[in-house]
Symmetry: C3
Amino acid sequence: LAIITLTTDFGLQDHFVGTLKGVILGIAPGTAIVDISHAVPAFDIVDGALTVASAYKYFPDGSVHVVVVDPGVGSARRPLVARIGTHYFVGPDNGVLTAIGGGEMRHLTSREYFLPGVSKTFHARDIFAPVAAHLAKGVDMPALGPEISDCVRLEIPKAKLDGSVWRGVVLKVDRFGNVITNIGPQDVPALFHSHGAAFQMVLGGREINKIFSSYSSGAAGEVFAIAGSMGYLEVAANQGSAAEILNVGKGDEFTLTLPERPPRKVIRV
Amino acid sequence: LAIITLTTDFGLQDHFVGTLKGVILGIAPGTAIVDISHAVPAFDIVDGALTVASAYKYFPDGSVHVVVVDPGVGSARRPLVARIGTHYFVGPDNGVLTAIGGGEMRHLTSREYFLPGVSKTFHARDIFAPVAAHLAKGVDMPALGPEISDCVRLEIPKAKLDGSVWRGVVLKVDRFGNVITNIGPQDVPALFHSHGAAFQMVLGGREINKIFSSYSSGAAGEVFAIAGSMGYLEVAANQGSAAEILNVGKGDEFTLTLPERPPRKVIRV
Amino acid sequence: LAIITLTTDFGLQDHFVGTLKGVILGIAPGTAIVDISHAVPAFDIVDGALTVASAYKYFPDGSVHVVVVDPGVGSARRPLVARIGTHYFVGPDNGVLTAIGGGEMRHLTSREYFLPGVSKTFHARDIFAPVAAHLAKGVDMPALGPEISDCVRLEIPKAKLDGSVWRGVVLKVDRFGNVITNIGPQDVPALFHSHGAAFQMVLGGREINKIFSSYSSGAAGEVFAIAGSMGYLEVAANQGSAAEILNVGKGDEFTLTLPERPPRKVIRV
């Protein structure tokens, strides 16, 4: 029971996504096709990687993930397939796959797995969807093209420790107005443990120094930190939009400072 | 051939909905997963109930409906499963299930049907989706937890008869600008019969006294009542937005008066 | 492994699309249901036809396409089924099917393939979805109703040659801001060949005279023509919105002139 997921910047207003699904079902009937999101901002490679990275591990081993944020479609940029852990990914060689994780990468060169008459305008339809469908049907990665090691590398921007101050950026704002930062458990483990930690964060000109464990914590209008479901520290507000309260958005910078003395008690709910 | 539907306030721009589907397909491969809507306004429990209530009866018996509008995620509010008629529902104990209808309610306590390591931030992923998948695979309701009778009760707001005047509110405005009221067939049966009835409705400062049976009735810009597909009286305009014409929206109040004398002839198309 | 696609102007915020899928799965369990788009502008018959026309050929033979843009729902307009090539289409008799292409057309009259108690407000649920499900299950077209030849005819507006000048209109603007014109390969074959052609187009008060073969061509802010994936000449900009740059939208007019002398060399990437 094969699964193919789709993550793109195509939106849902045009025929694009439907067309991809037609191609897949033509090659691999019975495949379960799942939309991760098609609302990646146009051409935003990092956001596309971030979106699929948050979801793919919840799919069964062997799932195939099509990730198409492809400003270079039709140019010389290569089409790729990657195996990251137990999952397969297909997408353009612009960093969107390497930002998800490391693994075996191959250049898609076997045209028998493409649609005939590949266009220069719609590789998702002509290359990525058909290759994903063939993978879902059991074609082995090596048949798709040669392994490569020189693909474009991109990373989700990492927070940096500058003396005793973490400097980070807002990765995105989600549908609820939660502000997703780029502080992860590898950066400040204490903030992701169940015991929390003392900290001082400055974002949007405002100090945040409370961390709660659920979105339903905090008073009305109160902004607090929380270890979110995307694997990053978030800034949230109970039934409110932290992004609106703080007037911040993607790319905005923040600082986060931890006390040098042993942590004091923090409020947990 | 199991079916799971999803109704949430998650939107489609993030990874949330895709993640739920991965969880379901990991537990119950081959399940047909259907989105009812993910555009429920954030935290709007009544709207979530209203949305799934309009759709679920069109699904086969035994379908499982995940309904997650959950401002209290991570708090002490309980996760529930309900059997309403021949359908199963899973969602939080905040009234979103009781507003759909009455039936057997159970507190989800059997953690073996949850994902391991339940978070406090994403119960749809960690509890509701996996439980729905196990239900779809045939797990019996009693195995999921004890029956309860003290769950939070919520109802779609009902219109009230005040002397000879019905006082109601706008439940929502649909994509076409049709204004869905909370007058149902149990309130004013005559308006839902094929013969119509005389009435006078005041909404947005305007009097409405015509009822038609199809949206394609009425002159350009004319606003009229119609028995809509959500089971409520609606106010509509032929190829126009009644909500814009009347400048009304969700929560706005209206009155509806029926004549005390026998009904006069009304225009029907 | 039956496939049913859906193209509507229903949007995704209400219960409508979920309800259709429930009806289909109740009649034809196991059918793969694919959304082409539900963001057709309300009541825009031509846009609905254009959307499904761009996608349907990528689906396997025998797929059933539900196309519901139906301002006349509940009126005397007939419900139809069409066979266009190897595909089936169901939708209202308002031109939305004839704009896709020609073929056998039948009036849906066999009420045993409808839901019981057809409403006047939601024929997609009561007629089109159930008929599509029965078609997907193998019911033959003749069983659905009599063949007709007097259905409403509508065409995607065609560009017209006026002396030596093509006069056309913008059919739509896609999610990326690409401007889809109504110049097709049958109009100006040279623009769709791999060698391109010299031309002068005037759109939004600006002259466009370059044609590239990929969206990633051109300098920043440069607007150029391209043979797009919908089968029409488009106007695009590299990682920018041509529609915004030119301040044009659907329905705007343009002219396109070809040189009378033999084509000079054009830039191709």
